[in-house]
């Protein structure tokens, strides 16, 4: 293959979109793999669902590298890795780069955590567990296939369009913003262009097959450093935001025992071998017995309580190291944290200006 085309799965998402723009700006031939026809179809794109191996084979053919940045619910996270890897194998892709998450180490990793720390799929947050499972599945697939695998674990990816930015901004505007313990915990941030830069390095790096890399910004910052500029932009004094100090909520029995089992390989295999009719019958029986709320698909966090995820994140005490990425990829994040914040805030102001105009 003469040209080293890079396919980006999930190109309509936040990370995928920025990554695509970054790669194009840096002269990489790219192809966007999306589920729905994009509004501007001037560039190379293909339509495929990340769980549909045959659609992916068509979409990936002719590509040298694939970046898997597609997100979905937990079943998509775990269910998409095998189709993506097998499709890449079928069409002779050289390398697959999987955008995992720093949260495989937990929202508040224990001090000393780095890429070599063991991963657990029995964490309190099902998203973390799904990402751990996806990584494990990819490693198993790698041992059976020939497509090189690089796992990137970015942490808090922020930038124009990131939920970390607009969620907080929306909370500010509705007056529901709060911080946990003064937001003095460490924010393992990575500006989205720094992540894209890391991906570009991983596309070409030698001897990184099967490795996982944590990616973060160069600076060590606190959550208040991320939130303060946003608050200021909206004319809110950051120090006056309510600071809550929630107690640790214990996981429910369902979360502690049932969820890990339901997500285990055995249960997934069993689920897959059941027919649709049987599954519907079981669901109906459970509903009738009152064990499963009608129409529900998992537990919903109470809005009045601070989610464990947020409180854990904002109390984080460990700065995840970039050391391995620096050493093996030559990673040197080009965008300083302050610049990233500025660009994000600019985007926010633009966005709120345009929404105001609409309403």
């Amino acid at each position: 293959m003469s040209e080293q085309r890079v396919a980006v799965l999930g190109a309509s998402g936040f990370v995928g979109g920025h990554l695509l723009a970054y790669l194009r700006a840096n002269g990489y031939p790219t192809r966007a793999i999306v589920r729905r026809r994009p509004t501007s179809a001037d560039q190379d794109y293909r339509i495929a669902d990340a769980c549909d191996v045959y659609a992916l084979r068509d979409a990936l053919s002719g590509c040298d590298c694939v970046v898997h940045a597609a997100l979905g619910d937990n079943s998509v996270i775990t269910g998409s890795v095998a189709p993506v890897y097998a499709a890449a194998e079928a069409v002779g892709v050289r390398r697959l780069i999987y955008i995992s998450s720093g949260s495989v180490h937990g929202q508040s990793p224990t001090p000393g955590t780095n890429e070599r720390s063991p991963l657990s799929a029995r964490q309190a947050f099902s998203y973390n567990n799904a990402k751990v499972r996806a990584e494990r599945a990819l490693r198993r697939l790698r041992s059976r296939g020939t497509v090189e695998l690089v796992i990137l674990r970015p942490t808090i990816v922020f930038g124009p369009g990131s939920r970390w930015i607009f969620d907080f901004a929306d909370a500010l505007q509705t007056g529901t913003a709060y911080v946990v313990d003064g937001a003095r915990g460490i924010c393992n941030s990575v500006y989205v262009d720094n992540l894209s830069y890391g991906v570009a390095l991983a596309l070409g790096a030698q001897n990184v097959d099967g490795e996982a890399f944590l990616l973060g910004d160069a600076e060590t910052v606190q959550w208040r450093d991320l939130y303060r500029p946003i608050a200021n932009a909206f004319g809110v004094e950051f120090e006056k935001l309510p600071s809550v100090s929630p107690g640790r909520k214990t996981a429910s029995i369902r979360q502690r025992y049932l969820d890990p089992w339901l997500m285990s390989d055995l249960a997934l295999t069993l689920k897959r071998s059941l027919s649709k009719e049987t599954k519907t019958t079981i669901k109906r029986l459970l509903e009738a017995a009152g064990l499963r709320p009608a129409g529900a698909a998992g537990s919903v966090a109470r809005a009045s309580l601070v989610p464990n995820e947020i409180s854990d994140l904002q109390r984080c005490e460990w700065r995840l190291p970039n050391e391995k990425a620096v050493r093996l990829l030559g990673y040197a994040p080009p965008v300083p944290f302050a610049d990233g914040c500025r660009r994000s805030v600019e985007w926010l102001l633009q966005r709120s200006a345009s929404t105001r105009r609409v309403s």
Binding site: V53, Y54, Y85, A86, R144, G145, T269, R272, S273
Partner: protein, 503 residues
């Protein structure tokens, strides 16, 4: 003294099996050499895979399996029966730059027809196909016509016990049917809409049967022996007479080389494989390949152009929904008149399942001298046979056909009130229709073809090629029934020649 067989048949698929059946039933001592596993082994592998799949194993998501069968795994049936297909690493095949082709190959006793989920549709070709070249001048024409082949069609159909309907269409001759097919509710609705809207089109139930595996009957005669897991590397010729004298093959696992002697060689290895074997059997007497004095072995490769992914919802009442049924809309372009911007036509295969329908267009590919199979000078397969090098491109006529097919499929769906939700207009890679034919075409003149009208080589009198290789033009119908009829006719001729002591 080594045993001399009356006939050695290379390949045990439908035509090889039929040749073995007819020849051994006529009293010849025959031997069938098959590169793939025997019937028991094949069935065991299929059952094993089906059990694994039932337990949740998804071979399409297993990189180790996909890696060994990168090409084969493009076939829709591969996930259901992967062991039927060859291993692409052991069986390499090179493709000309910029002319993608996917050669789907099945190596097992019984051939491709035994693959699970095979469509199994059987249609005759009509004189519109046999005389196509004369009508529009876009290609050469067959040296035979339907009336030459009709008795053989009939005998094969009687043996296969086809089910279908009688339609009296000029473009799709009726077959001898053992069973009357009843159209399902989806097809009924479509058929009445088509009959209301167009005079020249008809939607009919498909003509189908159980997989034809004539090798079973051949073995039952007691005069036929089957050697499975034996990869033929060369057809041997006698340097004195120039005639075929035997076959050299190696064990698939043992790699031990063996030779058998015979009075006649019948090549039924599938179009591309047969051409490859002929080319690989070159000797000082036949420097360009066996039976290749015309230089046409491997040329005029055709495969149906194939357009899938045209899907529609057909709102059907629950009581009218059926598991899975097939229908067919025979060729309607260039049947009565020839005023289109393209020549030849296409047939639409219809698939109905519950309230879903899918249309697949199969269009005729014009024969092109440059669409060809040759030998790769560098690449060899695991058994030392030079790999095939395939160069096959779709032309403008095929593209125009498929454009029209997509439009008409859409129009037919609309007329029937189906709600189309997907309309793919990308022609699939050649080869994926797995109807490849025409690499050693027949002709009335030894200079313009490889085989005579009885599938006998012009150069080597005791060499017969009874698979799809002999096709001159392709027609739009699925080729198997025609292959079988041609093989039956050729066997009849072979037996007559032997009786007259010409062989």
């Amino acid at each position: 003294m080594t045993k001399i067989y009356d006939a050695v048949i290379i390949g045990s698929g439908p035509t090889g099996g039929l040749a073995a059946k007819l020849l051994s039933e006529a009293g010849l001592e025959t031997r069938v050499v098959e590169a793939g596993p025997g019937m028991m082994e094949a069935r065991a592998l299929t059952t094993y895979h089906a059990a694994k799949r039932r337990l949740g194993y998804r071979i399409e998501e297993d990189p180790a399996a996909v890696r060994r069968q990168r090409v084969q795994s493009s076939c829709y049936a591969w996930v259901h029966d992967p062991h039927a297909f060859v291993d692409d690493i052991d069986n390499p095949c090179t493709i000309a730059q910029g002319k993608p082709f996917k050669w789907l190959r099945c190596r097992r006793t019984g051939g491709r027809m035994t693959v699970r989920k095979h469509g199994l549709q059987f249609y005759r070709l009509s004189d519109l196909d046999f005389k196509a070249g004369q009508r529009d001048g876009a290609s050469d024409t067959w040296p035979i016509s339907l009336c030459d082949l009709a008795p053989y069609y009939e005998s094969v159909e009687r043996w296969m016990r086809l089910s279908g309907t009688l339609e009296a269409l000029p473009q799709l001759p009726d077959s001898v049917l053992a069973d009357q097919a009843v159209p399902g509710p989806g097809l009924q609705r479509l058929a009445s809409a088509v009959a209301r809207t167009w005079k020249d089109r008809r939607a009919i139930p498909c003509r189908t049967a159980t997989p034809p595996i004539p090798i079973r009957d051949a073995l039952a005669t007691g005069r036929c022996t089957l050697h499975s897991n034996a990869v033929v590397t060369q057809v041997l010729t006698d340097p004195r007479t120039g005639l075929a004298s035997g076959v050299r093959y190696v064990g698939r696992w043992s790699h031990r080389e063996r030779e058998i002697r015979t009075r006649a060689v019948v090549l039924c290895a599938s179009s591309i494989e047969s051409a490859r074997l002929l080319l690989a059997s070159a000797t000082p007497q036949h420097p360009a390949g066996l039976a290749n004095s015309s230089g046409l072995v491997g040329r005029y490769l055709m495969d149906h152009v194939h357009l899938g992914g045209i899907n529609a919802d057909m709102p059907l009442a629950r009581s009218d929904q059926r598991p899975a049924t097939w229908g067919y809309i025979p060729q309607f372009r260039n049947v009565g008149t020839t005023d289109r911007e393209f020549v030849r036509g296409y047939g639409l295969q219809l698939f109905f399942e519950r309230d879903q329908s899918a249309f697949t267009a199969f269009g005729e590919m014009l024969p092109h001298r440059d669409n060809r199979v040759s030998l790769d000078p560098d690449v060899k397969d695991k058994w030392g046979v030079p790999a095939a090098r395939i160069s096959c491109a779709i032309g403008d006529n095929e593209r125009a056909l498929m454009r029209d097919a997509a439009n008409e499929a859409c129009a037919i769906m609309t007329a029937a009130g189906f709600k189309s939700w997907k309309l793919n207009t990308d022609i699939s890679t050649p080869g994926l229709a797995s109807h490849e034919v025409g690499t050693a075409r027949m002709s009335a003149d030894p200079r313009t073809g490889v085989l005579n009208p009885f599938c006998q080589s012009w150069d080597v009198k005791n060499l017969f090629v009874m698979d799809g290789s002999c096709f001159v033009t392709q027609g739009v119908q699925n080729p198997t029934l025609t292959l079988l009829a041609l093989a039956a006719r050729s066997c009849h001729y072979l037996l007559e020649s032997m009786r007259r002591r010409e062989l």
